[in-house]
Amino acid sequence: MARKQRDGPARTDIDMTPMIDMTFQLITFFVFTLNFSTAVQDDRVQLPTSQLAKPAEGPSVEPITLQLMNDGRVIYSGEPIALQDVGGYLENEKRVMISASKEPSSATIIVRADGRSKTGDVQEMIKVCQEKGFERFVLRAEYDESK
């Protein structure tokens, strides 16, 4: 009887230490890979790759991202718009900048164009920006680590 009572409440102790160690390592990994950058990346645009497209050291000055899709439409702040409407949206950007007493020429237009899109569309988009007074452009490409 006494023996049975001792067996009953005896619990199998699982050693939790390795699991907790591993779990904390996982947490640490995910914390470090947590990315706070607000860089615009969109799956609808497949950037061309380049071995020289090293990430910039710092954030761009007054960035405005224009993403050109394969079909010639432009993604501006998440919404696809027609290429000929870009001018109107940029006019707004310009007005906002001027009201904040900044020159439109100090803004950087980040051109994220799909590799399959037409060069003429890219140039058209750049031309529209130039007409609105934007002068600084960067062409964005995906960094190709293969070589």
Binding site: Q41, P48, S50, S117, T119, I126, F137
Partner: protein
């Protein structure tokens, strides 16, 4: 005696359950917020207003004209540099290196490249051309910078 033995073997059991719950919630949160960020980089291009009249007087060397023509589906059909046929982008890079040289005394800073592309050309060709003229990755991974001033020729009417 029996009582004493019992108290000795008594370990203070910390209840791990809440801690493990919280830890797993944290893991789940961080896993779900994990974004695989593809590293992207930028190429500066010079596009001042009034591009046709914007030829800076200090540019002693006339711009290198890289012209690319496109076929009906946007593929590159030919490429010329200053009027000479160029086979591929590696060939273009070799010709650029021949022209400006590398290392000290290189003319890369003073030279400008003007890209003249057919409007239907696929944009990836532009990036490949820009890559070819703007630098070279050596086998050890270091980058030799070539021409940094790149501009587009005024777009042609379609």
């Amino acid at each position: 005696m029996a009582a004493k033995r019992e108290s000795l073997s008594d370990k203070i059991a910390i209840d791990m359950t809440p801690m493990i719950d919280v830890v797993f919630q944290l893991i789940t949160f961080f896993m779900l917020t994990l974004k695989s960020v593809i590293s992207e980089g930028d190429f500066d291009i010079r596009m001042p207003l009034g591009a046709s009249a914007g030829a800076a007087p200090e540019d002693l060397i006339p711009p290198v004209r890289v012209k690319m023509t496109a076929g009906p589906s946007g593929e590159r059909t030919s490429m010329t540099m200053n009027g000479q046929q160029v086979g591929d982008f590696d060939d273009l890079r070799r010709r650029i290196i021949d022209l400006v040289g590398t290392g000290p005394g290189s003319n890369a800073d003073k030279t400008e490249v003007e890209l003249d592309c057919d409007p239907t050309l696929k944009y990836e060709n532009v990036i490949r051309a820009v890559t070819a003229v703007s630098g070279m990755v050596q086998p050890d991974g270091t980058v030799v910078e070539l021409i940094k001033k790149i501009k587009f020729a005024p777009p042609k009417k379609r």
